[in-house]
Every structure is written in C-alpha cells, then in structure tokens.
Symmetry: C2
Subunit: 378 residues, 2 copies
C-alpha cells in the first residue's frame, strides 16, 4: 500500500470536485448547457485575474498562451525588454526571438527579483521598447517579482507590461487592473487546481492596440478570433470541453474561499515551509524574494539532490520537484499552491526529514515539523 502525495509546482493536486466533474458524460460545446458553463467560467476568471478585461481560454499549455502574447502584440523587427531570472524568463526571450523580435535583456541573477528601477532606466534609454516581458513567480527559482512596482513604471510609459503569471495566479496577489498590468498569461495546472491543458490570457485596451497592429502570422492563437468568438459566448475552435467544465468547478471553489483567504493560506504555508527550512539548517535559494507559491531550497553540502527527490518520490510516494536547467541537483522545490493545505505541507516536511536523515544529513529530527506547526498555530 503506497499512498501518493503531490507537492510539485505544476501539476498541483486536483480537488475531488474537479476530478468528479471530468468523469461526467461529455456534452456538446455548441449547446445552451455548455455555453452557460463557459459564461460562468469567463466571469470567474475575471475575478481571479482581478480584471474587467476579457480572459481568453486557449486549449494549450501555458507556453501556448505566452506565445499568444508575443505574436499578438509584436511584429518582426519590434523591440521588447525581457526580464530573465530563471527558466521561464528565458522562455520569453526564446519565443520572442522565434518571431524576429529584438530582445533587450535584463539578466537577473537566479534567485533574485528584478530591480524595477532597472526597467525604468531601460525604458527611458530605448523608446523603441514596445513590451516588457516579466514573470510573477519564477517557478524555477521560487522568486516573486514586484509586479506592482513594475506596473507603476510601465503604466505611464509607451510600453505594455506582460506578466507570465502561470505559477502565481490564484496563489499570490496580482491586481491586474488596479496596478495597471496590461497582459496577464496563465495556465491551468498551478493555482487554478486543474490538469494542464488550458492557457489563459487577458489584454488591456492599451495591449489591444498592439494586437490590432501586429503583423506576426497567426491563426490558432489569434486573439482577434478569440475576442470575436467570446462575444458570442464561444471559443474560436472546439472548446476543451472537459477541462472547461473542470475549470468552472475550480472557480466555484475559489469564489467560495475568496481571493484574500486564498492568498493568506498560501502565505501561511510558505511561511511554514521557510521556518521549517531554517530550523533544519537549510538555506533558501532566494532569501530576499522567496515566493509564496513555491519554495526553492539549496541542497546541503554532501547530499545528492537528485537522489533526495527521487527517494522521496519512489520510496515514499511524496513528489516534490528538483532543480531545473542550471539548478539541476542544486535545489529542491516544495510547492504550496493550489489544492495543497497545511497537513500536506506537514507530510512533505516529514518525508523530507526522513530522507535527509537516512542520507546522513545532521539535524534534530522533528525540528522542521515543529517550526512549521508553530507558524500554523498562529
């Protein structure tokens, strides 16, 4: 009897209501029954995106929605400013280059947040910059960027601000309209508690001006088609029916909880994990900008980081994430986003303590759990 526990930053565990909804007999998408669901989900998405702009649902992974942002906003020869501080920041550059966009890059040290002042400087220095691409929570490093401050800079500039909120949306605060964020991109398998397979994107009126002028070739991800379809409460191509029905269930749960409570829950879990790491004598990968959605922790000297993650998963059924790209083997990441709660964190920490102990790492058994419990008791 092996029980499995998922503490990864995408996919995140699925609530029973979401799972059950996907097992229902499928319905046709061009029916009043499905259109009512799509409408309800569209309204719910606006709440979670904290915007009055339309949120478009794309059948794709999050990367598809990121590419939709690039191709709909910019044309070959345009200039963009990209904040790179991890694997997903780099993805903005890769996509932009595929479209012939000139990329000015702010190369942030992995584990640090971007300095908003640097964005301000670059924008002033180069008035050709049409878009700033950045990341809310950089999943690969567990870093949150200060989107509120960045938006304060771009809002009065000629450039639009595009935020990859794939990992952060529904876990940490992102006041799209209030802060003045132009484009928010997200995906289904993180804070939204769904399987991967849906991408989301919202555009401000300022961003729509670029979308109407872009000359990049596009069809499936053409947001002009998505806007036209949404006016008739439809998607431009066959809706991902099952996942949208599941989305509606997840959004109902989020509505019942309320965004503020959801963010507070994530913050508390993050605090607990950070306190536990400290108690275990482990170092956060990002002490200065640690995310409330996922915590990246340095693998201590003498411990094989890949083996740690593998043993937790294969021997004990507790799946956390290892490091990606240049961080492979150097960090492990514990997610605390979506349908993850207090006692799931305790489970993850207990398994971590067990495996660290068997691997010869020296610490007081139970000290991590105790520190986490103290946070949860508050």
């Amino acid at each position: 009897m092996k029980k499995n526990y998922l503490l990864t930053p995408g996919p995140t565990p699925l609530p029973p209501q979401v799972l059950e909804s996907m097992a229902r007999p499928i319905i046709h998408h061009r029916t009043p029954q499905f259109q009512a669901i799509l409408k309800e989900a569209s309204v719910g998405l606006k709440t979670v995106f904290q915007t009055s702009n339309d949120v478009f649902i794309i059948s794709s992974s999050g990367t598809g929605a990121m590419e939709a942002a690039v191709m709909n906003l910019l044309s070959c020869g345009d200039t963009a400013l990209v904040v790179q501080g991890g694997k997903f920041g780099e993805r903005w550059t890769e996509i932009s280059k595929a479209y012939g966009i000139n990329c000015e890059i702010i190369d942030v040290e992995w584990g640090k947040a971007v300095d908003p002042e640097e964005i301000s400087k670059r924008l002033k220095a180069n008035p050709k910059i049409k878009a700033v691409f950045t990341t809310l929570c950089e999943t690969s490093t567990g870093v949150d960027n200060d989107i509120e401050k960045i938006a304060g800079i771009t809002r009065d500039s000629h450039a639009v601000l595009v935020v990859d909120a794939i990992s952060g949306l529904g876990a940490i605060d992102l006041k799209t309209d209030a802060w003045g964020v132009d484009v928010v991109v997200s995906g289904s398998q993180k804070g939204l508690m769904l399987p991967p397979g849906l991408g989301f994107i919202s555009l401000s009126p300022k961003a729509w001006k670029l979308a109407e002028a872009s000359k990049s070739p596009r069809y499936y991800l053409d947001l002009r088609k998505a806007r036209k379809a949404l006016e008739k409460n439809d998607t431009p191509f066959t809706s991902s029916i099952t996942l949208i029905i599941a989305l509606n269930e997840a959004l109902k749960m989020m509505r019942e909880d309320g965004l503020e409570n959801i963010f507070a829950r994530h913050r508390k879990m993050a605090d607990a994990v950070r306190a536990a790491m400290k108690a275990l004598g482990l170092e956060l990968f990002s002490p200065t900008a640690a995310s409330d959605a996922v915590t990246a922790v340095k693998v201590p000297a003498g411990i094989d980081g890949e083996k740690l993650v593998k043993t937790m998963r294969d021997t004990y059924g507790v799946t956390i994430a290892g490091g990606q790209a240049e961080l492979k083997g150097k960090v492990f990441r514990i997610a605390h986003m979506g349908f993850i709660a207090e006692f799931d964190i305790i489970t993850g920490l207990s398994c971590l303590e067990k495996v660290l102990s068997t691997m010869g790492y020296k610490f007081t058994l139970g000290s991590g759990i105790k520190a986490a419990e103290e946070v949860f008791l508050k």
Copy 2:
C-alpha cells in the same frame, strides 16, 4: 428524468474507462509512471495512424495541429494546393493565407469528393506547389475523399500530401505509410473517443525535409522541439497529463478491437443510417461520396432544419448536428464514429422519426428503424 444521447461528429461519447481514468488523482508528468504511459500511447498512436513515423501529441484542438502542419512545412511565399469542399477544407486556405502562403485552390462542390485527376493536373501545371492540403472526412458535408488515389499521385511528385484526418482517423481506413501519405493531422474528440484538447500530427521523412527548411516563425507548435522531446519520451511543454492518460485508455480499447473491426463497425452503422434515410424518403447530402464516419442528410422541404435538431436535443435529449456555414438549416448530420454503437444509432433514428412526425413530415413510422435493423442483422 431526461437521458442524454450524443450523436455528434465531435465531441463523440466517451467510454466509461476513459471517463474513469480522468477522475484518478493526477500524477506528475516527469516521472517514470507517466513516461511509461506516454510511451505506450505513442506506440498505440502509430498503430492507429498506420505509420512507422512518430506521432506527436500537441495540447491544442485539431486546428492547432493543422496550423502546425502549415507553419512547419511552408514559409511565406511558398505555394500550396488546397482542396476545398467544405468548412474544413477552407480552414487549410485560411491558415495558409495567414502565413503568406500562395494558395492554389481546387474548389470542389460541397457534397462531392475531389477528383484526384484534378490534383494531378494542377501539380503538373505548377511545379512550385510544395504541399497538397486535403481532408479525409469533410465533417461539414459528410464526404470522404479518396486519399489512397490522391497519395498515388503525390507520392511520385515533388509535393507532400497533408491530410486533415481529424474526423476520419480511427473511423475509416487511412493507410498512411502503405498509401504514401506524408502528413496526417488529427484530433482527440472524434474517432479516438476522447474529450477535445489534444491534436496529433505525423510526418514522413519527405515532410521532415520541408520542416527543417521552413522559415515560418514558430515555438509552441515547432515540431523540431516535439521530435527532440519525444526522443527522451517527453513532450516539449507540460504534457496534457489527464488527456494523455485518457488517450492511453482509449488506445487500449482500440487495440483490443482491432482496426479492421473498428472500420467494419463504422461502415455498418453508416450503411444502416443511409438505408434508414432512404426508407424515410430523405436524401443524402452526398450520394456519391458519403462518409462512413458521419452522414449529412438534406432537410426535407417544409421542415425547419434548425428546429428539428433543437427539438431532438432540447425535448428528447438526443443531440445530432445541424449544418455549418452555408449549410445551416439545410442539412442535419448524424455521427456514427467513435464510441457509438448499433443501438445508439437506433436511438437516434427513433428520435428523428418521432420529431419528423410531430413536425408534419409524411412517412411510415418505424420504416427508418426497420431499414437500419435489416442492415444490422446482415
């Protein structure tokens, strides 16, 4: 108590095994457990595609896979020959034009199959044609094209043959390798008995030469990335985990049935529907090239076609499809593909008889059912 019955050409009904698999707790995609499923599904897809080429799984609707074909094969300024004989043939033109492809169009009368000789003539007349885009089953008209004959022409030409098999795959025969079809595109929600949300595409070595040379901007749908990932038994971006697990279940069922039996079952259901329509005094929209996957039927004079479909659905719970685009209100379409069996067809026909009768259409009640039963008894 209203029971619902789905007889539409996408989505098609989902088998209980598929539904159940989607309700299981989600697993992480970068685990040996998921990789085993992805590997098994990849092998199963090759069987259904009747090819030894890799079949790539994309998180997208079928249209995304169609666009992947266009952008990966051709560059701006290239020339393609497009067979248009319905809404989905026209989609090839729309996508191609979005990429600056010069389209030579064969405008086939809706309801007819393309004359393969016409393709031969066009290819000889214009050696610039790099790709021929066509459709296996044109869902909007219920027409099958003779892909075997067309492939016999393109095989020895400089052009690659690209077949939109979204509606036909797993319902009617398509011998990709044996006939010499270069690119096959499909989707999940038809013969494969899955929800919408997955696109599929396979490329011959001849097509890969074009894919390596294409200059069209691309990232998410870049098949070079998909090929590289598949070598490591992965997808380039987060896999649509739940739908791929469901795919594997559906492919297991198809393997147990065997392709020949599956095709024979579809043929028999199509024969039964066609016999029923004749007995009811109704005319097929395509008497010469009627598909074994879906039957389009002309709405008889004096009957409101849209009301017919709506009454069947809203009053009796039996969902068939109406006409699309220029066929709106002029035809209705009964699907017999995927997880649809003999007695589902009987149900659909019985409901059709009931509603036609209440709408004042004159025929002998039960005559359609009787004709269908005679076919099924054979």
